[in-house]
């Protein structure tokens, strides 16, 4: 997994609540067997005027020159609700987004983001409001996120955030979750030995 320690980048605002995974990456792009190539389809329906993605929608923030190269997304409540598709964080990461700042996230998206080195960063509603005000005042402004100190800085504004300590550790170190679990193979085997028989029956091909 890609590490996240400290990141400075342009923040692009998307002033909507309930941005669902169908908007982040529509289903027609889920027809793939690898993890790459989703970035160009990120926010397809909003970002392009045509299905073939040849005509960028000039009104959509990601297409505005001032937000070119943006790597931090600012949004409202319940970001990532809907489907469990991990293609959503893959598309965001593929585009170059490293962190999403919002007051709240849908549970499955939140987990999926963390598992991919994309930081879902929760601030309070008021703090997110303030960031929207600042970004609207100065489009293209950069902010700095430190996962080491758990801070978000925009000029003289500093906000603190929290993240589950284990999740934070994994992100900081870029740890592979499967390897970590496999260190406990013995405990898993012991647990399986004690399983009730009605539950333990497997299915054979």
């Amino acid at each position: 997994m890609q590490k996240f320690t400290e990141h400075t980048g342009i923040v692009v605002p998307l002033d909507s609540a309930n941005i669902d995974t169908d908007q982040i990456i529509p289903k027609q792009f889920l027809l793939a067997v690898d993890r790459n190539g989703f970035g160009k389809h990120l926010f397809h329906d909003w970002r392009y005027l045509d299905e073939e993605e040849t005509k960028p929608n000039p009104d959509f923030n990601l297409n505005k020159k001032v937000f070119a190269g943006a790597s931090i997304l600012l949004a409202r409540d319940n970001f990532g609700n809907g489907s469990s598709r991990e293609h959503a964080p893959w598309a965001l990461m593929g585009y170059g987004i490293r962190a999403v700042i919002a007051p709240s996230f849908a549970d499955i998206f939140y987990n999926n983001a963390l598992g991919n080195g994309l930081l879902p960063l929760k601030l309070t509603k008021e703090e997110v409001d303030k960031l929207f005000v600042e970004v609207n005042k100065e489009p293209g402004v950069s902010i700095t996120i430190s996962l080491v100190n758990c801070t978000v800085k925009l000029r003289d504004l500093t906000f603190n955030f929290t993240l589950d300590e284990f999740r934070r550790h994994c992100l900081l170190e870029g740890l592979d979750a499967i390897s970590l679990t496999l260190e406990h193979e013995d405990e898993i085997a012991r647990f399986e030995k004690n399983m009730e028989s009605w539950k333990a029956h497997g299915v054979t091909p």
Binding site: A17, N81, R85, I108, G115, I178, H184, F191, W198, V203
Partner: protein
């Protein structure tokens, strides 16, 4: 203090808790489908790993297959690639796979229960958010992303923090013409799409007890639509009767033993819930959605809301945007809104009971001339076969419906079952998001009986006039 149903299952699955880590839970079952598994299998292969317990996995194809014909050729080239990948992967890693033509091919959340793979007291996951469906059996079931799918494949475990608990008590009995789907739409409208975020929900009360397993699955299925990862129902005699004799359910003495344990799977009298919601099921009308998220629903007799009906500014904006998209005018009655397409199916409402209820309404009627397409898509090969044995297919076809093969179909429109721009769909599926059933399509969620009534009238209507 007593424990909730959720806590009982959670606690019995904690393998270990490493200092400073989330607890590691044993995962008893994983369902696999073609869209969210290829990257997990290739991750396993790239790392030179194997599946820890391939026999605790079950795979089928549903999301992007054709419902016109049960062949690879009828699927799109990219879908074909995903189906072939699943075929190859299940063979290579020793996972049971149900393909075209099998009774047990179909929507994963219908296959798990109908085979008895889904059992009370188990933890069950799948790379699909509607995995909450299996909570209807008193299982702890939730949707996960592909990295977690791979983690379960490799270790049969997941790291999971304890969720908060919410009790949703549904008092009274549903009236005639009002179904589990109406109940869940009413609950989501009350709680909003994020009201359950961070919670494991338990549905209980007289109205839930009275539901069949099919109805309970409809209820649990949409827990995720108000943000709850899991939507559980304590198992009872209805559950045991459903499971008895199912292919993968325990047999004989073992079944009796399991039942004894399953009977203990209910929240204790003095269990603490972090939140409690009560809803009077006896006063509910049939529900339909008017907006672009499942929380934007109303009783069928309601008028289209005004943005200022909502207290919250975000909700107001969301209402306005939704009405622009769906082309409804505040203050107009919902009843009478013309409909173009009808879709009956999905993991929410693609079970045998759903087709029986819709057929009761449709019998002896024709769909209205303005209905351009009416699709009936059984959730599995078995549902299709039973429906045909009962002659339901004939009722649907005589009314003017197309009787299709099992798959997810127009619920998410990943195959060629799509609604064109501006087309209004009366749909028994679970999401009315912008573009969900096709770019710029307009979705109204409802029960199968209401969808059947809308097909006959050609517009949104109250199904009770047909009962």
């Amino acid at each position: 203090m007593g424990k909730t149903l959720y806590d009982k299952i959670y606690d019995s699955h904690v393998i270990f808790t490493q200092e400073g880590e989330l607890p590691t839970l044993y995962i008893d079952r994983q369902l696999v489908h073609e869209v969210t598994s290829p990257q997990a299998f290739s991750g396993i292969e790239a790392a030179g790993r194997r599946l820890h317990r391939p026999d605790l996995h079950l795979a089928t194809i549903d999301h992007d297959i054709s419902t016109r014909e049960q062949t690879l050729e009828a699927c799109s080239p990219m879908a074909r690639e995903q189906i072939n990948a699943l075929l190859a992967n299940t063979k290579k890693f020793g996972v049971k796979f149900f393909g075209f033509g099998d009774d047990n091919q179909g929507v994963v959340h219908i296959i798990g229960p109908q085979t008895g793979f889904t059992l009370p007291g188990t933890t069950l996951v799948c790379g699909d958010s509607h995995t909450a469906t299996h909570g209807a059996f008193g299982a702890l079931a939730f949707g996960i992303g592909t990295s977690e799918v791979e983690h379960v494949m490799a270790t049969q475990t997941l790291k999971q923090g304890r969720l908060k608990t919410m009790k949703i008590e549904c008092t009274g009995r549903l009236q005639q013409g009002v179904y589990a789907k109406d109940l869940i739409l009413a609950i989501i409208s009350k709680l909003t799409t994020a009201g359950g975020t961070g919670y494991a929900v338990e549905f209980c009360g007289e109205a839930v007890r009275a539901l069949s397993m099919e109805g309970r699955m409809t209820l649990s299925n949409m827990a995720i639509e108000f943000g709850a990862k899991a939507g559980m129902i304590a198992p009872d005699e209805t559950t045991f009767a459903y499971l008895k004799g199912k292919m993968y359910a325990p047999k004989g003495e073992e079944f009796e033993e399991a039942c004894e344990y399953w009977k203990t799977l209910k929240s204790d009298e003095d269990a603490h819930f972090d939140a409690t919601v009560t809803i009077d099921a006896s006063t509910l009308e049939p529900y339909v959605t008017w907006g672009t998220n499942p929380g934007q629903g109303a009783p069928i007799s309601a008028l289209v809301p005004f943005p200022h009906d909502f207290a919250d500014v975000t909700e107001q904006k969301s209402c306005q945007k939704a009405l622009e998209y769906i082309a409804l005018r505040s203050g107009d009655p919902l009843i009478g809104t013309p409909v173009d397409y009808v879709f009956i199916g999905s993991c929410t409402n693609g079970r045998i009971e759903d087709f029986r209820e819709a057929a009761k309404v449709l019998k002896g009627h024709k769909i209205a001339p303005n209905i351009q397409l009416a699709l009936a898509v059984p959730g599995s090969g078995l549902v299709k076969r039973i429906a045909e044995e009962e002659g339901l297919d004939k009722i649907f076809k005589d009314a003017g419906f197309e009787w299709r093969n099992p798959g997810c179909s127009m619920c998410l429109a990943m195959n060629d079952d799509k609604a064109p721009p501006k087309v209004r769909v009366a749909s028994t599926s679970n999401r009315n998001f912008v573009g969900r059933q096709g770019k710029d399509s307009r979705t109204h969620l409802m029960s199968p009986a209401t969808a059947a009534a809308c097909a006959i009238k050609g517009c949104l209507c109250d199904v009770r006039e047909f009962l």
